[in-house]
Symmetry: C2
Subunit: 324 residues, 2 copies
């Protein structure tokens, strides 16, 4: 039995192994993804994003617990583009703390940074598809909401929860960084801390007053993740957003948006992977030429692009034929 | 006379016009850059980077004034990857405030964001080369030091000044984001504010204690940009770093590093520009296919990459020949 067959037969070890192959884009992982993809599109993918220190990791943990209490299986994907380690470590601590690791209805996966080459977003998309195909009705996708990777990853979700908290510096800065615009639900976590009321008022002012043709009014909810305060209301708002998307026809629009984001980041990643195929000696020699001002960087780029194009379209095999 | 000839004849209107063409990568701009590039490599390019609110814009203004007082011509390039507007506006205010706009020995250019497509870093590299070729011995390159663009742009500099300030939130977070590692000179600006001493101690602890084979010990300098306090010491440290680079042979290593960064970002930008050539209708149709789960995103990406490759290697003209 291959891993997809083992997944279908209920083998609990199949899913994590499959995800590793999908993340690493091994031939087996990519082939499995091709088979699983037609089964996807049923999970509610909820992005939970916010700056470091906002408590979103703890919030995702209590959200998962609340969703389990409502009888649903839940998958959590924690993505940390900035650090190769801390995300996983924080997640591990949280899982143990909450006893979620003993519950077979909860699946938790943490994804660390794998640098720019290849990109984190395409790998995250593959993981979400596999969890969707594996039948999880709810997938919580936790990301640091800064940087391009964070935005790309949030675009995989149908519902985006933006978490803010008092005491993280200038609230206006977070607004400027485009965090709020992508949120379907806004959360002021650490609502028990001084400054939470001020932050809530600031965020309320930054929210669009005109609802326009959309019938969804972005809720702004206080939570205290460490005690679970406000988390049931947050889950209710997430579920209400799903209902709104389904009834308004926006569910399909979001899915098309997610597909667009995945295709575009996939294109970028595919082009990036080509750069890794360049010959290191040739690259270094041309860079030294540019540094010595004997060739311009633009001329070097044009030279290397021509090399890549020739390799991509089998230029080598053509010259082999001519030589043979 | 073309713009390069007008630049050489001393026409003050030639440089800003040339820079606009270089930024927009018009054929005239790219041709001018090819002619100017062999003359470059003489300017000391100093990156000044730091988070929003650190006061780096004001600091760059007083640094330019101090450098003018030492008899040098100075060019300032302010790059704001995050906002299409505020960088230029802040710069304009500052220039008027300091009277720098009346000094022909100071040239100031602000570059706003132009989205991901094409990229800001290659445009900034072209602008720096033109200013270098125009004979400015000192080019101050101001960037928000967050995100990939910020790091790319800093890599164009031989000397990187990292600006921090008290009251911007968690100092440890700035350290985690990899800001300090790229700094040759560290600055605690707003040194008159409470918390400046604490921040300086934190940064001191984060500095590498082992100097290793490098003989440059990263200085950590307090400044108060609004009053000019500490700015002469900062300029002296920047000049000392240039001397160190020249004497140690690291100047050439930095130039090769800058050329490498420019070539690699140029390659990425060239590949990104290709994405803009895709047919919108074909793209939308394939994305809808993926959203409907009839084709996988990976299959769509492979299809589009094949289309791009065919266009890049003149597949169309080949089929034209066959048809004719």
């Amino acid at each position: 039995m291959d891993l997809v067959e083992r997944l279908d037969s209920g083998d609990p070890r199949a899913l994590p192994r499959l995800l590793t192959r999908i993340e690493n884009r091994t031939p087996e992982g990519l082939a499995a993804l091709e088979r699983l993809y037609p089964r996807t599109g049923h999970a509610h993918v909820v992005g939970v994003t916010g700056p470091p220190g906002s408590g979103k990791s703890t919030l995702v943990g209590v959200l998962a617990t609340a969703a389990r209490a409502s009888g649903r299986r839940v998958a959590v994907v924690a993505v940390d583009p900035s650090s190769p380690l801390s995300g996983g470590a924080v997640l591990g601590d949280r899982v143990r703390m909450m006893g979620l690791h003993a519950d077979p209805g909860v699946f938790i996966r943490s994804m660390a940074s794998r640098g720019r080459m290849g990109g984190l977003a395409p790998a995250a998309a593959g993981v979400v598809h596999a969890l969707d195909a594996a039948g999880f009705p709810l997938v919580l996708l936790e990301t640091v909401g800064t940087g391009q990777d964070g935005v790309d990853i949030a675009s995989l979700a149908q519902t985006v929860v933006v978490v803010q908290a008092p005491g993280l510096g200038d609230g206006v800065q977070a607004i400027k960084a485009g965090q709020l615009e992508i949120g379907d639900v806004l959360v002021v976590n650490k609502a028990d801390l001084p400054g939470a009321g001020d932050l809530k008022r600031q965020l309320r002012l930054a929210l669009p007053t005109e609802t326009g043709p959309e019938r969804w009014a972005t809720p702004l909810l206080p939570t205290t993740a460490t005690t679970g305060g406000g988390v049931d209301d947050l889950l209710a708002a997430i579920d209400a957003h799903r209902e709104y998307l389904k009834e308004s026809g926006n569910w399909e629009i979001r899915q098309r948006g997610a597909a667009r984001a995945e295709v575009l980041t996939g294109l970028r990643a595919a082009l990036e992977r080509r750069l890794a195929t360049l010959d290191g000696d040739q690259l270094n020699w041309l860079i030294a030429e540019a540094a010595a001002r004997r060739r311009s960087p633009d001329a070097v780029v044009a030279n290397l692009i021509a090399t890549l194009d020739s390799a991509a379209t089998g230029g080598d095999s053509v010259s082999d034929q001519r030589g043979g």
